[in-house]
């Protein structure tokens, strides 16, 4: 390591602090500052280079990692508390008065997502049941966000989603669905095409 006197070290530290302040504000230092001494320019170039190296380093770290088995994913998923998202309880009628059946709101949202995903080129996002789902026969509105594949015709796609969701809920629940509102919030592309090629 190059030997520097404590005095040089302090001066150099001051310079780095000054340059860092510029860089961290996203500004370039004034030219006359950079031209005042060669070490100013050298230090600025080095700091800028470190920054651009830092931007890429995590991606490079990931690429350098050997392939791993799947246990880390399983380890995460088994430690998650799924019950937390059950939501409200929706009564289901039954011929026996002794039976007390219900469906969770989370399960109904699952039905809605599955119905939406079955429509080609779409994904359901956030999904909300508005209305008093706990009281049989109460009017319920379904509001969903959706993503459509780039280039799909949105009005037609939204209509297909509405139809699929309505049919599924009619079939699987006793909810009195008065409206299914679809908001297209996103457009997606095929993400894994590059992976498949590599």
């Amino acid at each position: 390591m190059a030997m520097t006197s404590p005095h040089d070290d302090d001066a150099s530290n001051d310079l780095i602090e000054q340059l860092s302040d510029y860089i961290d504000r996203g500004e370039a230092p004034p030219d006359d500052f950079l031209n005042r001494a060669p070490e100013n320019r050298i230090a600025f170039d080095a700091l800028t280079r470190f920054r651009s190296m830092a931007q890429d380093i995590l991606d490079e770290d990931v690429s350098a990692e050997p392939d791993r088995d799947d246990s880390w994913v399983a380890g995460i998923l088994t430690n998650i508390h799924r019950e937390a998202r059950a939501g409200r309880s929706i009564p289901v009628s039954h011929s026996s008065p002794k039976a007390d059946l219900s469906l969770t709101e989370g399960a109904v949202r699952g039905l809605i997502r599955a119905a939406g995903d079955s429509v080609a080129g779409t994904f359901i996002g956030r999904c909300r049941l508005e209305g008093d789902v706990a009281t049989p026969g109460s009017p319920v509105t379904v509001n969903v966000d959706a993503s459509v594949f780039w280039g799909e015709r949105m009005p037609q796609t939204a209509q297909r989603l509405r139809d699929a969701i309505t049919t599924s809920l009619l079939h699987h629940t006793e909810l009195n669905i008065v409206a299914v509102n679809v908001t297209i919030t996103d457009v997606h592309l095929r993400r894994n095409a590059k992976d498949a090629d590599s």
């Binding site: 380093i57 994904f123 993503s147």
Partner: protein, 190 residues
């Protein structure tokens, strides 16, 4: 080669982060799994950079995702899921360092790092990434953390100060020293 983890096994693999995060907030575990596969490897790399080794990075990633699952319903902007996950990752990594050091405040173990390696050894390092990694290895832990949070994580001085529980002026000083040390180290390898 994709820069993020592969998530092609799920039919949801083409969905955007915003859609996946909204679904996961609604309780869709399959959507959450796609987020785990997509961002887990990058989060692990980030945790490793902050921790200085990968010995605890799997635990940090696991804790991060468990916290993320619980807090997803509070996420205001699902499109910013990746940045949000990275922030939780850095926090969990710092918690772990703190636990390692027990009750010692972070700033006080700005201990000297190992001596620089000889130029001969350094010349063997092939890539820029390896050279930078070696240079980072010569920093003190506090310097490396400040540098990592600033340059890789993109945090402001104020955020780093809060995360590390240090005054902003100390963060500024640690960063300047980290940068100065990196300059010296990288200089010697030219």
């Amino acid at each position: 080669m994709s820069i993020t983890g592969s998530d092609e096994r799920s039919p949801l693999g083409d969905a955007t982060d915003a859609i996946l995060a909204a679904r996961a907030a609604d309780g869709d575990l399959r959507a959450f799994e796609v987020l785990v596969r997509r961002h887990g490897p990058l989060m692990r790399a980030y945790a490793t950079r902050i921790l200085g080794s990968n010995s605890d990075s799997d635990d940090v990633v696991q804790e991060t995702f468990i916290t993320a699952w619980e807090r997803l319903p509070e996420l205001q902007d699902p499109a910013a899921t990746k940045a949000w996950l990275m922030r939780i990752t850095s926090r969990k990594a710092i918690d772990r360092i703190r636990a390692r050091k027990q009750d010692q405040p972070l700033g006080e173990w700005d201990a000297p790092a190992p001596e620089s390696e000889s130029p001969h050894q350094q010349a063997e390092a092939a890539s820029q990434r390896e050279r930078l990694t070696r240079a980072l290895g010569t920093l003190s832990e506090a310097q490396r953390q400040c540098w990592t949070l600033r340059e890789i994580g993109g945090h402001s001085y104020a955020e780093i100060a809060e995360e590390l529980d240090l005054p902003p002026s100390t963060v500024r000083g640690l960063l300047a020293r980290a940068r100065q040390k990196l300059m010296q180290e990288m200089e010697e390898w030219r």
